[in-house]
């Protein structure tokens, strides 16, 4: 990956830190994420993994340090739609079906060439549940309905906060497969999780969070 490392990184953090009420949530972080790379964010409960994810997504603002997107300071309108964030709250409307939820996401963000909501839902393992209200789905199925956005929306960087939570073994394999596919076509992903990632496209970068 030496060739990739000389290129401009997709996302770069320089001495990034975040303070909540003057208390640092995590120690200054430095990392570079290139296109085609996967980064695992590791750390104990409460070490600031989710906070880091929310900062990278642009929901929280950086306290100190710098974030650069394709070599330039990260600004919301410059990377809008290129970053896909999937947090603990799945962003699904309980009264709508997975299909309607996907239509909404695609209406805002657009969709990949040749992808349709129906095909994506079948691929993610929700065939037969497309028109069931999300309220009636199990926790794992809800997670899958949210993960379907990964397949449909044209984002470059995926920020996945605990994508394996609530998933069964097939679901976990599916997420790993999605990550592999995404990095192979030049996307990048950052994932927080405790194990469960088995990435075949080279050794993932590990970002260790310290208190």
């Amino acid at each position: 990956m030496t060739a990739a490392n000389t290129a401009v990184p997709l996302l770069e953090a320089r001495a990034l830190s975040f303070q909540r009420q003057d208390e640092p949530v995590f120690a200054p972080l430095d990392f570079r994420l290139h296109a085609g790379e996967l980064a695992l964010i590791e750390g104990d409960n409460g070490s600031g993994k989710t906070t880091l994810m929310r900062i990278l997504a642009g929901l929280l603002h950086v306290s100190d340090g710098e974030l650069r997107w394709r070599g330039e300071p990260l600004q919301r309108d410059r990377c809008a739609g290129e970053i896909l964030f999937l947090g603990h709250q799945l962003g699904l409307k309980a009264d709508l079906s997975p299909r309607e939820n996907l239509h909404m996401a695609a209406g805002l963000n657009g969709s990949r060439e040749g992808m349709s909501a129906a095909a994506v839902l079948t691929e993610i393992g929700l065939g037969g549940y497309e028109d069931e209200p999300v309220r009636r789905l199990s926790a794992g199925q809800k997670k899958r309905a949210a993960l379907a956005r990964l397949l449909l929306l044209p984002a470059t960087l995926w920020l996945l906060d605990e994508p394996f939570a609530n998933l069964d073994r097939i679901g976990i394999a599916l997420v790993n497969q999605l990550l592999e596919m995404h990095t192979a076509r030049g996307g990048a992903a950052m994932v927080t999780s405790h194990g469960a990632v088995s990435f075949h496209g080279g050794e993932p970068q590990r970002i260790r969070m310290h208190d």
Binding site: A57, L59, L60, Q89, K93, A106, L108, E113, P133
Partner: protein, 228 residues
């Protein structure tokens, strides 16, 4: 990769919120039922004198409709914050203010419009002269979106706090006083055969200002709420 246009995004947003409202039809019926009951109780409490009811009819209908709208205001952004839809909306490439404007429009369509539709019935129950009803409807058509927009800003400002309902009502009441004064003023003037266009024009001016500024304020307030 094809980015959807603003119109597509607006349509998707509007359709989603209207579908959601339709799935919960009972919630739409609530304010309407409330307004019906309140207006129906006035003749019982005050006695069925035509002259008295006619004099208060315009004011009663206006205040009842505005209060009924308050019932549903609280829920404007709360479910979106709880299930994370708002985060997705903030991160979408579309301007947040415009998307929130669509949400406010959907909210107005589902709460205020049914109230405006039954307003002639409410006015009729209080013997408001038929000739005044168009003025009342015009006043409502301008005053209710104004209230929706002002309310949305306050809902967004109190979004981070728990049990914001009480705070919301306290903050909103002084803001809707001008709307009530001008709307009721127009109806009263029409009832006395005086020119009623001036107060309506004031309402219109306030509405134009709110349409432009309120979504921007909402977007800023919700960004701050998420950033905490």
């Amino acid at each position: 990769m094809n980015r959807p246009g603003l119109l597509t995004a607006c349509a998707a947003m509007l359709r989603r919120d209207l579908t959601l409202a339709w799935r919960r039809r009972g919630d739409i019926a609530m304010p309407v039922l409330y307004a019906l009951i309140v207006t129906m109780l006035f003749p019982f409490a005050l006695g069925p004198e035509d002259t008295l009811l006619q004099r208060i009819a315009g004011g009663v209908v206006l205040v009842t409709v505005l209060l009924a709208m308050l019932l549903a205001l609280d829920a404007m952004f709360s479910s979106d914050i709880e299930d994370g839809s708002l985060e997705q909306l903030v991160l979408a490439p579309q301007p947040l203010a415009l998307m929130l404007g669509m949400k406010i429009l959907a909210h107005w369509l589902t709460t205020a419009l049914p109230l405006i539709v039954i307003a002639p019935l409410l006015a009729g129950m209080l013997h408001l002269p038929g000739a005044v009803i168009p003025v009342l409807l015009l006043a409502l058509l301008l005053a209710t979106p104004l209230l929706s927009l002002l309310g949305a800003v306050l809902v967004a400002l109190t979004a981070g706090t728990r049990r914001s309902g009480m705070l919301l009502a306290l903050m909103l009441l002084p803001l809707c006083v001008p709307a009530v004064i001008f709307a009721a003023g127009a109806v009263a003037a029409a009832q006395q055969g005086l020119p009623w266009l001036a107060p309506i024009a004031w309402l219109g001016a306030a509405l134009v200002l709110a349409v432009v500024l309120a979504p921007l304020a909402c977007a800023a307030a919700l960004r701050i709420a998420l950033d905490a």
